[in-house]
Structure formats: structure tokens, C-alpha cells
């Protein structure tokens, strides 16, 4: 009977703290983020200033939106590797179309391939049941090919970045990046969708147990098709924002963001197997990766060592975070 007493004893502080953090998974993530910033400040005193903060936020936003695409698709047990291609396409098409068209028209034209790729992804995954990794990889190859073909037709037309996109991408108002004007509504919408809408519920349900969702009357293909279209459109919008930030249309503009977007979602606590996770963690994950990139740029060391460190830190952060939020 003495064991029964053990259980009713006051829980040690460490465990209580862990339980507290496990219930609020954002807190350990934020602590990790702050730790990275502090390390940065120690290594380069003075770097953490207003300008740096603004830059970090500016670069984290496109990553965070793409990571939002990954978060939502990962909730259903999928992944969207075509976001990089889609973002690049919409950016490149917009920049070249705006030469001859009104910016609004150019943006609409630029989003057409995004919708199409999303639709194809959705139908492939939702109706034909192709594995999302393969499906989105395939459409991303196809998209890249189409973009190559397209770019040949516009070599001589030049490219332009509409001023308002540049304003949105790079501008600051009272030291606050204008990109937040786009990002905050998107983030709120994603968080709200996941937590408080039927569609959000279905994403979790489908990812957790597709059969159970089906028995509850959920039509898988509808959910998946809508999801991949939404993901693609978000990626397209990211492309427009990103071109405003980078101001140099290229055929591989957003490709480097793809793997980090997956990493950001995972660091933020979304399970790649589906059914669990959320967007707020992902946003912090994107910030962590951005700060980490800065940290490594600032450190003077051979490129090889930099990459090794990057890999190790990503692994460490994810492992530490999982350790903390895990309560079994």
C-alpha cells in the first residue's frame, strides 16, 4: 500500500514544470527561440537591434507561410513539395506579365498555375490516392518544366516588380515590416481554420484515421482537393510576397525554401504522420530556422562546419522540444 502514497505525494517541481510546458507547447519553443537570439547577441554584441529584428521577420514570413502549407498538408498525413515551384512560378509569371498588364491582372494570371497545380495535386492524392510526396514531386517537376518553357517566351520582355509588392516585401512602417500586413491575416486565418472550422477538424480527422472520417460521412477527396488547392494558392501568394522582398525574378527563386518549410513545421510540433500539430508552433519554427541561418552566416567558419552545425542544431532543437512536450 505504500506505493499508493507515492502517487499522492506532491509532484516534484521539475515534473510539474515539464507538465506545465507539455500543456503549453509554445512556451518551450519560444524559450528555444530566445536562447538562439541570446547566443547570437553574445557572439555579435549589438546585432539584435530593430533593423535586425525587422529583417528576420521579413525573411521568416515567406518561410512561415510555406511552412503553413506543410503544416496543413502534414496534418492529413501528406506533404506538399510543390510549394517551392508554385511560389517561384507565380513570382516569375507576375514579374514578367506586369510589364504588359495591370498589376492586378498580372497577379491573377500568376495565380492561375498555382490553382491548377493545387487541383492536380488534390485530385492525384485525393482521388487516385497517389502518395503526396510523389504526387507533389511530380507536379513540381512538371511545373518547373512549364516555367522553363514559359521563360523562353518572355526573355525579351524584361521583368518588373510592382512598387506595392516591393513596399510589402521590403518596406517598414515605424520599423515594423509591412509584410506583417499580409502575414497576420493569413496566420490568423490558418489558426482559426485549424481550430474553429469544420474544414480544420476534417484535416485532423482525415490525417488521423481516414476510415473513421469516412464512416462519419467525410468525403476524403473533397477535403484533400480543397486542401491542396489552398496550399498551392498560399504558396502562390508567398511567391508574390517573396519577389517583393528579393526583387530578382529567377527560375529557382523559392526552391531553397522547400526543405526548411518542412523542417519549420516539424520543429513547430506538427507530426508528419498526420493528425497532430498546429500553426502557431510552425510560426515559431520558421523564426527559429531564420535566426539559425543568421547565426551561422555571422559565425566565421568553413562552410562545411557551418552546415554541420546547422544540421546538429536542427536535430537538437527538435529532439529537445519533443522531449519537453512528451508526457509519457
Amino acid at each position: 500500500m505504500s506505493n499508493a502514497a507515492t502517487v499522492s505525494q506532491p509532484v516534484p517541481f521539475g515534473r510539474r514544470l515539464k507538465r506545465f510546458m507539455a500543456d503549453r507547447p509554445l512556451i518551450p519553443l519560444i524559450i528555444l527561440l530566445v536562447m538562439l537570439v541570446v547566443i547570437l547577441q553574445i557572439l555579435r554584441p549589438g546585432i539584435v537591434n530593430e533593423r535586425w529584428l525587422a529583417n528576420t521577420v521579413k525573411f521568416a514570413i515567406p518561410l512561415a507561410i510555406l511552412a503553413g502549407c506543410q503544416t496543413m498538408t502534414m496534418l492529413t498525413g501528406g506533404i506538399d513539395l510543390s510549394v517551392g515551384t508554385v511560389a517561384t512560378m507565380s513570382a516569375f509569371i507576375m514579374a514578367t506579365q506586369v510589364v504588359n498588364h495591370d498589376p492586378a491582372v498580372a497577379i491573377l494570371i500568376a495565380l492561375v498555375p498555382a490553382v491548377l497545380i493545387g487541383l492536380v495535386n488534390g485530385i492525384g492524392v485525393g482521388v487516385f490516392r497517389v502518395h503526396p510526396l510523389i504526387m507533389t514531386l511530380g507536379t513540381s517537376l512538371i511545373g518547373t518544366g512549364c516555367l522553363q518553357v514559359y521563360q523562353r517566351t518572355v526573355i525579351a520582355s524584361g521583368a518588373k516588380i510592382p512598387p506595392f509588392l516591393a513596399w510589402l516585401g521590403t518596406g517598414l512602417t515605424y520599423g515594423v515590416p509591412n509584410a506583417l500586413l499580409l502575414f497576420v491575416p493569413i496566420a490568423v486565418l490558418i489558426v482559426f481554420t485549424l481550430r474553429r472550422t469544420g474544414f480544420g477538424r476534417l484535416l485532423y480527422a482525415v490525417g488521423d484515421n481516414e476510415g473513421a472520417a469516412r464512416l462519419s460521412g467525410v468525403r476524403y477527396w473533397q477535403v484533400i482537393t480543397a486542401l491542396y488547392v489552398i496550399s498551392s494558392v498560399l504558396a502562390g501568394v508567398t511567391g508574390l510576397l517573396y519577389i517583393g522582398l528579393i526583387k530578382a525574378p529567377s527560375l529557382s527563386l523559392a526552391e531553397p525554401l522547400v526543405l526548411p518549410s518542412v523542417a519549420a513545421a516539424v520543429i513547430g510540433g506538427t507530426s508528419i504522420f498526420g493528425g497532430r500539430g498546429g500553426y502557431t508552433g510552425t510560426i515559431i519554427g520558421a523564426l527559429i530556422l531564420t535566426v539559425l541561418t543568421t547565426l551561422l552566416t555571422i559565425l566565421q567558419m568553413p562552410e562545411g562546419a557551418r552546415r554541420i552545425l546547422f544540421g546538429l542544431i536542427v536535430l537538437f532543437v527538435t529532439a529537445a522540444y519533443l522531449r519537453i512536450i512528451e508526457d509519457r
Partner: protein, 512 residues
């Protein structure tokens, strides 16, 4: 008895975060004994079995095997120590065939085959992939695999819950013979018939604590129930139903009309009606087509012929969503098929609310909450671990699958063995619930593997054998022998005792 216990566990503690699954469990099993482990849903039975067999680690406690302290760290360790479990969920590797599964566990094939035959499956193809084998057979294979290595202690967690009567009967026979040949068995079941027919002693768990060990003797059931349920005890026994109580089908249009329904080779020419306010029971042995019948009515599979009418209008279901729109809900027998395990109880219950395209928008949280909470209360779901359904005990998970359709106010509910693995108290609640639904004018089609339940809940009995309806009769005529005969495809008037009936009536303890 002065023999030393073969297995002796004391003071076992296991907590999952804030949930205490076991607070102070003990269990002592003598050689040659069939020992029942009893407790309400969520009492911690499965947790104890998992700890004893190394599938999870205890936070505290002592485990002695043959008087020696042994640290059982994994199922492989347990196996070496002579402890072999059959868990509540099937444990064959789904993508390997049976032969490879045997090889993986170093199980000798010939003894295994012999046991499989003994357990009532004469024609098993061991090249078949586990995934393609029906649940009930898988359970039997699990058992045969355990038996084949001749363990000292066999731990059976709700082994019979998913089995139809004919297979369950064989299992009981085999377990009995294990005890006779000097091996011990730990036997978990919610069915008193089985406990009393089989076991020598019972350890009773309540809320993670061992509250008593009793010898099984006539009349002990009441005491066990008292110990199991503690303050929860409630005398809710419904007397066997009388025909007079049955809601009269009254208006001429049946709720559900099935005519000449066919599904592949499994179901042939099935016709029957289900009225509003009626609970119709389906009685069948394993694999007689009842799975296909309910799945077809639920829109899960497409029938290959025949018609289904709802409220007099012919319908074609291409997807469960169509059936749900027509007011027909399906509760599958395997709860892992019905639940999103990582999600909360609330989300699971509320899932059908959002399924239709028009409900993809914002959720009215307050309204949802009240609907969910009332369904949870109605089924008395233990919501301590409600953040994730997978942390609920098996029985409570089962209740969530039903609560969903109570909350969704389905007009017709198709239940496939809804009381599988549910404790006595809860069973009573479910019977009451189904009756109440019927009284509210809803209709229920109810397949059960426990014949006794038919008398308690149903108005009418539909007997299926070999994919055909062989008999339909009112509940007054449905005593167990009659049901059993019918289930074996024997005409209603036949007299000879068949199968399990002989055993039950000849067993030392009368059924409660």
C-alpha cells in the same frame, strides 16, 4: 493451497501524465489456475497485462516470477520468462503472412496448426497476409500462436470479446484444458458466463487498485460487481423483454426496407424491414454475411444487387455520407476503425457535424460543446484522459463511437457488437440507451455476439446463416437455445442441443 504463486505482482503503479492508470495493483497467480482479472472499463486491466509482459514499464511495483524478481523489459523478455500475452488488439504483423509471423516469433508451425484446428478454424492458409484475415480469426491466431509455445502463464485480454459464439466456445474449452494441464491463465473478460464457467479465482481491480481476490463459486457475481463498481453500483438490470413492450410497428411504411440484397458471394437475397421505434437484433455466427449487410446499409460497400428503401423511398448509397444524410449511422465493431485516436473525445464526437461541405465553415463552439457534453454524460464516458481518445480505456473508446451518433441524432443506428469489451454496468446503460432511442421513435439494427443481449434489447430477431436470412421471429420466442439453433442454421423447431448450449448448461455455475 500452499503452492507458491507462479506469478506474483504487488504494488504496481503506472501513471500517464495526470491520469493514474494503476495506483496499487497486485495479482497473484497459482500454477494450474485460470485466474480472472476483472474490473470496469478503465480499471487498468490491460495496463497491468502490458506491464506484466514488458510492453510498457511500470513506475513502481514488484514482479516475482516463480518466486524470483525478474525485470521484464520487453515482450521478448516476457516470452523467455514463460509469460505470453494475447493483447486486446491483434498483434500479428499486418503485411506479413501468417507463416512469416510465426517465424518472426519462433513459433513452431505444426503445434500452431494443431491449435488453430482445435480452436475451430479447420482451413487456414498460412500463406495468407494477416491484413486480409478477419478480426475474429486474427484473435484466434494470436491465441494459437501463444499456445503453440506452451507458455507457463497465458495472459488473455478480452480474448473472447470480438469472437462469435462458436469460436468463443472453442476458446473457452481450450483455456479450460490449459488450466487442467497445469499451466496458468490470466483471463480478462466482461462476460460473467465465461468467468464462472472457466475461472478458479478472480482478482478485481477498481480505479487502478486491486480491491479483492475471490474464489469463483456460485453466487459470487454480485460480490464481484459490487467490488468492481464500488459506489457506481446501480441495479439497472432490465428484465428480459416482453413482446408487449415492443413498440408496435404501427404505421405501414418501414423505416428501412431491404429487399433481395446481395453483396458478392457473402450475402444472398436478404430481405427484411426495420420499423421506426424498433430494435432488431441480428444473430449470426462469425462470417455469415452480417459484416457485409451492415456495411452495405451504411454505404461503406456497394451491394451487387437488390434494393434498399428508406422511409419508402429507394436509395443508393455510394459513400457513408449518403447513408448518414438518410439518417443511417454505423457503429463498427472495431473501434480503431471508428475513432481518430490522437484527437480529443470532443472532436471525435463532433466529427459528423463538420463532414458535409456546407459545414466546413466556422464552428459554433458553444452549441457543439453542449451537444457533445450531453452525449458524453448520457454514456457516462470517463473523460479523465479526454485530450486523446487513444488514452481512454478500451471500453470508454467504445462508448465514444456510440456517443457520436447520439450527438448527431441519427434516426437509424446500425450497431456491430457495440458492447464488445464493455463492463457490466456500462452494458446496462447501453441497453437502456438503445431502448430509449427506440422509444423516441428511432430504429436500431443490432448485431451482437452475445446472445443473451438479444433478449434484453431487441424487439425482433433476424437470423442470418450462410449469407441468407433463415429466420425472423419476435423476441418472446428468442430464448438462447432457440437462437443458437437458428444461428447454426437449424430449423426453429429442432430440439437437440447444439454446441455451446451443452457446455453452458452442464457447467458448474448457472448463468447469472
Amino acid at each position: 493451497m500452499t503452492t507458491n504463486p507462479l506469478l506474483d505482482a504487488t504494488g504496481v503503479v503506472k501513471t500517464y501524465g495526470a491520469v493514474v492508470a494503476l495506483r496499487n495493483a497486485s495479482l497473484s497467480v497459482l500454477p494450474g489456475e485460470v485466474h480472472a482479472l476483472m474490473g470496469a472499463n478503465g480499471a487498468g486491466k490491460s495496463t497491468l497485462v502490458k506491464i506484466l509482459t514488458g510492453a510498457i514499464r511500470a513506475d513502481a511495483g514488484h514482479i516475482l516470477i516463480r518466486g524470483e524478481a525478474r525485470d521484464v523489459r520487453s515482450p521478448a523478455d516476457a516470452r523467455r520468462a514463460g509469460l505470453l500475452p494475447v493483447y486486446q488488439e491483434p498483434s500479428l504483423i499486418p503485411d506479413l503472412d501468417v507463416a512469416s509471423n510465426l517465424r518472426l516469433t519462433d513459433t513452431p508451425v505444426e503445434p500452431f496448426r494443431a491449435w488453430v484446428r482445435e480452436l475451430g478454424i479447420p482451413d487456414l492458409d498460412i500463406r495468407e497476409t494477416a491484413r486480409d484475415i478477419p478480426l475474429a480469426v486474427l484473435r484466434v491466431l494470436d491465441l494459437a500462436r501463444a499456445l503453440a509455445v506452451e507458455p507457463d502463464v497465458l495472459l488473455l485480454d478480452e480474448m473472447t470479446a470480438a469472437l462469435p459464439a462458436n469460436l468463443a466456445e472453442k476458446v473457452l474449452e481450450v483455456v479450460r484444458s490449459q488450466g487442467d494441464s497445469g499451466r496458468s491463465v490470466i483471463f480478462i473478460s466482461h462476460r460473467f458466463v465465461e468467468i464462472s464457467a472457466l475461472c478458479d479465482r478472480a482478482t478485481v481491480l477498481r480505479d487502478g487498485e486491486t480491491v479483492g481476490v475471490v474464489a469463483i463459486e456460485p453466487g459470487v457475481e454480485e460480490r464481484i460487481v459490487e467490488m468492481m463498481l464500488g459506489a457506481r453500483i446501480e441495479k439497472t438490470r432490465v428484465a428480459a423483454r416482453q413482446a408487449s413492450q415492443a413498440a408496435s410497428p404501427g404505421d405501414s411504411r418501414p423505416r428501412l426496407g431491404v429487399a433481395n440484397l446481395r453483396v458478392g458471394t457473402k450475402l444472398n437475397d436478404v430481405s427484411f424491414d426495420l420499423a421506426n421505434g424498433e430494435v432488431a437484433g441480428i444473430v449470426a455466427l462469425e462470417g455469415q454475411g452480417q459484416d457485409e449487410l451492415l456495411a452495405a446499409l451504411a454505404g461503406s460497400i456497394r451491394p451487387s444487387g437488390g434494393t434498399i428503401e428508406v422511409d419508402g423511398k429507394p436509395v443508393k448509397f455510394a459513400h457513408p455520407a449518403d447513408a448518414i444524410r438518410a439518417g443511417i449511422a454505423y457503429v463498427p465493431g472495431d473501434r480503431t476503425e471508428a475513432l481518430t485516436m490522437q484527437r480529443s473525445v470532443r472532436e471525435n464526437v463532433a466529427l459528423p457535424f463538420s463532414s458535409a461541405l456546407r459545414n466546413w465553415g466556422p464552428i459554433n463552439m458553444a452549441q457543439e460543446r453542449s451537444r457533445v457534453v450531453s452525449a458524453i454524460e448520457r454514456l457516462q464516458i470517463d473523460t479523465r484522459a479526454q485530450r486523446e481518445v487513444q488514452r481512454l480505456s478500451g471500453g470508454n473508446q467504445q462508448k465514444v463511437t456510440i456517443a457520436r451518433w447520439i450527438a448527431a441524432e441519427a434516426q437509424t443506428i446500425l450497431c456491430f457488437d457495440p458492447t464488445r469489451g464493455i463492463d457490466v454496468g456500462t452494458k446496462q446503460e447501453i441497453y437502456k440507451l438503445l431502448r430509449e432511442l427506440a422509444d423516441q421513435g428511432k430504429s436500431v439494427l443490432f448485431y451482437t455476439s452475445e446472445l443473451e443481449e438479444v433478449q434484453r434489447v431487441c424487439d425482433r430477431v433476424i437470423v442470418i446463416f450462410g449469407g441468407r436470412v433463415v429466420d425472423v421471429f419476435p423476441v418472446e420466442l428468442a430464448d438462447e437455445p432457440a437462437l443458437m439453433r437458428a444461428a447454426y442454421g437449424l430449423p426453429c423447431g429442432a430440439k437437440e442441443d447444439v454446441g455451446i448450449l451443452a457446455d453452458i448448461h452442464s457447467s458448474p455455475v448457472a448463468k447469472p
